[in-house]
């Protein structure tokens, strides 16, 4: 087989490949009988083209560490109690260190032994002897433990958020952990950022606490709280309908938390048609709830979500069966989202929205239309110019140009890359680069013809000399594309991908495909036939 024949086979295969992986991205083709035999890979569109919400959340890991330290403090206290060692004046400093005083210094050896055995993740940063020989401990987490804790917290947050989004129902969400304490979330199709943020950003830490009505609220507001009590705000509605915050003193210890929720649903009040969320506890939760309500008859129980009391009804009876309701002034949508969030569970630590980008569906479609328009105009202008300027050789360059676009789109589909709006700009640029390469070659061929070389020899010379220059010229742009891919985010990566794919494809089409077509075309010519270039 001659060299031309096998090159023709390669060109044909490339064309079939380009079409086979490009066509399935068109809806009409997928629906047609052709769709069933073509590969299923499709070009996936970025959020900037299909519309949706992009969020970057930062997990408040310091808060998570502080919580874990406080929990560690509780555990040390109860372990010590079992060994009849008294721990007093325990508190958290700067949310970073745990301080407490060992009341019985003679038991220091036993206590240290216990710390070492049971609390491997914590380290004693310093000990000081305070009044009457008691020993003050300052403790923190080891670097290793802290790192693990942070990583676990972020993992847990990702899991919870994924759970919420699944329950909420979003097609093809993308939730991933990023470097450090960040989580990136992509929600295609959503358009209300407020709702999305409420859904993924609400900590949803639900607690039930007993109200201490004997405490002096006025004093509490000045910071004078009895031990084991805390001040929270209850959102109530005045007679005239305006919401106000009312202070409430509750026992610090939560009698029940959101962990024990088995299910949460929206119901409507028979009287005023207001939506409320009803909770079903797990069997264990139901048992605790029954005991707690029985123990605290005629007292009030505050239902607290993220530090704010939604209501604080008086316990009239021991409540068996494990049901509770959260009433409040919210819309049906808010109630539904709250139910989703409660079902999916609480975040291990609060999260902050660091970045939010939303593209509405109409702008996405507009961008696609603009992109298609730009590509069509650019393609038309180039094709016309090449045809006028280079006659038949221009046709060859135009075939290479079209094949180049097909190869880029099929590359996107094959590698599962995302097409973004800047990505469309990348396609347009590489269209020009593909034609540029052919211009460099054609100009060289013209030069060789002027020097008196016969057509076939000029083509050979033109392509051979042109190829290396083109390779080199594109190398620097490829370097820029690779660097952009490495350091870019989202849409810019899309640009880098199409630019890189386009550079590779354009070199193949402009050098290999064009040459094959040119040689095929002159192969039947007589030696003296002039080249249409």
């Amino acid at each position: 087989m001659s060299s031309l024949s096998w090159r023709l086979i390669v060109v044909t295969l490339a064309t079939v490949f380009g079409l086979a992986f490009t066509l399935p991205s068109i809806e009409a083709v997928r629906q047609s009988p052709l769709g069933s035999i073509l590969p299923s890979n499709q070009v996936s569109l970025g959020l900037d083209l299909k519309g949706g919400i992009h969020l970057t959340l930062g997990v408040d890991v310091d808060k998570a560490v502080a919580n874990a330290l406080a929990q560690g403090g509780q555990d040390i206290k109860s372990f010590a109690q079992e060994k009849e060692i008294a721990i007093i004046r325990q508190n958290l400093v700067d949310n970073k260190r745990l301080e407490f005083v060992l009341a019985s210094p003679d038991k220091k050896a036993a206590f240290d032994e216990m710390l070492k055995k049971q609390f491997g993740g914590m380290t004693v940063e310093r000990t000081d002897t305070v009044d009457d020989g008691k020993i003050k401990y300052t403790m923190g987490f080891t670097t290793e433990y802290r790192k693990n804790l942070v990583s676990l917290t972020v993992d847990q947050a990702v899991k919870t958020i994924r759970n919420r989004i699944d329950q909420f129902g979003v097609a093809e969400p993308d939730i991933r952990k990023q470097a450090g304490d960040r989580i990136q979330i992509q929600l295609p199709g959503l358009k209300d950022p407020d709702r999305a943020i409420a859904l993924v950003g609400k900590t949803a830490h639900l607690e039930f606490k007993i109200v201490d009505d004997s405490a002096d609220v006025a004093k509490a507001e000045k910071g004078q709280l009895p031990p084991g009590r805390e001040l929270i705000m209850e959102r109530i509605t005045n007679r005239d309908g305006t919401p106000v915050d009312r202070p409430l003193v509750v026992k610090s210890e939560a009698v029940l938390t959101g962990e024990h929720i088995a299910d949460a649903r929206v119901n409507f009040d028979q009287n005023n048609n207001q939506p409320y969320v009803s909770l079903n506890f797990t069997p264990r939760g139901a048992k605790i709830f029954e005991r707690v309500t029985g123990d605290n008859l005629k007292k009030r129980m505050a239902i607290i979500l993220d530090g704010k009391a939604y209501s604080a009804p008086v316990i009239q009876d021991r409540i068996a069966g494990g049901r509770a309701t959260i009433t409040g002034r919210y819309t049906e949508t808010e109630a539904r989202d709250l139910a989703v969030v409660l079902r999916a569970g609480a975040l291990p630590a609060p999260v902050n929205v660091l970045e939010q980008r939303t593209v509405g569906p109409s702008l996405g479609q507009e961008s696609i239309d603009n992109g298609v328009m730009s590509i069509s105009v650019a393609c038309g202008a180039i094709a016309l110019f090449m045809l006028v300027y280079y006659s038949f050789s221009g046709v060859v360059a135009n075939i290479a140009l079209v094949l180049n676009v097909f190869l880029i789109t099929s590359g996107l589909a094959l590698f599962g890359a995302t097409l973004t709006l800047p990505g469309i700009a990348g396609i347009i640029l590489t269209m020009a680069m593909s034609v540029d390469a052919n211009i460099i070659i054609f100009e060289r061929i013209r030069e060789e013809i002027r020097l008196g070389l016969p057509p076939k020899a000029s083509i050979k010379e033109g392509f051979q000399r042109g190829a290396l220059t083109i390779l080199d010229a594109n190398a620097t742009t490829a370097i820029a594309a690779i660097v952009l891919y490495e350091f870019g985010t989202g849409p810019i990566r899309g640009f880098a991908v199409t630019l890189l794919l386009g550079i590779v494809a354009s070199m193949f089409t402009a050098i290999f495909v064009s040459r094959t077509l040119m040689e095929l075309w002159v192969s039947g010519h007589k030696a003296e036939t002039k080249l249409s270039i």
């Binding site: 109409s362 800047p422 620097t476 849409p491 249409s532």
Partner: protein, 362 residues
């Protein structure tokens, strides 16, 4: 043969005009630098400075004042309201700079204030961008790093590429890397590091007698600087897509230079005994047609993008237009003539030296 926009026998004395060209280039670069200094650096968009932008499309014709009024009433000052595109589009951009207040709340308030004043269906939120200070800082660092690495890698590549002296390129790579490592060690920020990298590269090119690499780099940096300068003068914000455009210019504007340089090398091999100046001028003339045509084609496409690509890609396309025009100009008027002015002291080509010697004899 088909059309010929530029006649094959063209023989324009480009080198003769090179001093004028240097002055024009210098003035353009200086104007950009003055603008940058006067404005205290590039004007950063939401991506880099942090802040909030909301793009709204209204159902009925409204004016910026109609939008501003309810926002002021809601106690939301420091917001700028701008019309986007044509008057018939009824599109507006509302933006707020990062000032430490929670941007998500500002956005939410804007939404509520406008809905309360104009009604629920009066507008559609087409685009929202809220970038917190931390993310803005990260994106800025990422962009600067991208520019830095692109400059360094391209510098090393072209220092080896033109003269096939990969030893020299290796030395360049080693020298550049260690200089950058040392400077970074001293706590130099990435922005200055980029400028330092460019300077170190130019000095190393000089020291290693890499004349062609030096010429190409000067032209390349010239193109990117002028693009940045014009953007600064026009007051256009820099965001991620502009950085992508700058890097593309950095890579693409070398194309024309590479073609001319390849022709110079080819001519030096053939036309022994001709003066260096004539060889260069001939090479520029011989490749002029393809230089102009390739730039024209690329201009077609980015102009199509500028006109039809929509608001998001408009500035990207403009940067590319400026970059391509200056890139073409610089490959003809800067990159090639500068080879002559860099002097024979930097000559590295064997053929070149031989040619000069033979020319001396004749």
């Amino acid at each position: 043969m088909g059309l010929e926009l530029i006649k094959p026998n063209i023989n324009f004395n480009f080198l003769g005009y090179r001093r004028y060209a240097y002055v024009i280039s210098l003035l353009l670069v200086l104007a950009g630098v003055v603008s940058l200094v006067a404005r205290g650096g590039p004007k950063y968009g939401v991506d880099f400075a942090g802040g909030m932008t909301v793009q709204l499309k209204f159902a009925k014709a409204v004016t910026a004042a109609d939008i501003q009024k309810p926002l002021d009433a809601a106690g939301l000052p420091h917001l700028t309201v701008q019309r986007l595109g044509q008057e018939k589009d009824n599109s507006f951009l509302i933006s707020a700079a990062e000032k430490g207040e929670p941007l998500e709340e500002v956005r939410s308030k804007v939404d509520k204030a406008l809905k309360a004043e104009l009604g629920d269906g009066a507008f559609e939120v087409q685009r929202v961008e809220v970038v917190g200070p931390k993310v803005g800082e990260d994106l800025r660092a990422g962009a600067l790093n991208a520019i830095f690495y692109a400059v360094v890698i391209i510098a090393v590549y072209i220092s080896g590429r033109f003269e096939q002296r990969w030893m020299a390129a290796g030395l360049m790579g080693a020298g550049l890397t260690s200089a950058m490592w040392a400077l970074r060690h001293f706590g130099l920020s990435t922005g200055y590091l980029i400028i330092a990298a460019i300077l170190v590269t130019l000095v190393l090119c000089w020291a290693l007698k890499l004349k062609y690499a030096l010429g190409a780099l000067v032209a390349d940096v010239h193109d990117v600087f002028i693009t940045i300068g014009i953007f600064s003068i026009l007051g256009i914000e820099f965001d991620l897509t502009i950085v992508a455009a700058l890097l593309t210019i950095l890579g693409y504007s070398l194309n024309d230079t590479i073609i001319v340089y390849d022709r110079i090398r080819e001519r030096l091999g053939q036309a022994k005994g001709e003066p260096f100046e004539k060889v260069i001028n001939d090479a520029v003339n011989q490749t002029l047609s393809r230089t102009m045509l390739t730039s024209l084609i690329t201009l077609f496409t980015v102009t199509a993008l500028y006109m039809f690509g929509g608001s998001v890609l408009k500035d990207f396309a403009l940067a590319m237009i400026i970059g391509i025009v200056t890139g073409t100009y610089s490959s003809v008027f800067v990159a090639s003539p500068i080879l002559v002015d860099l002097g024979s002291g930097l000559d590295t080509f064997q053929q070149d030296e031989q040619g000069a010697a033979e020319g001396g004899k004749a």
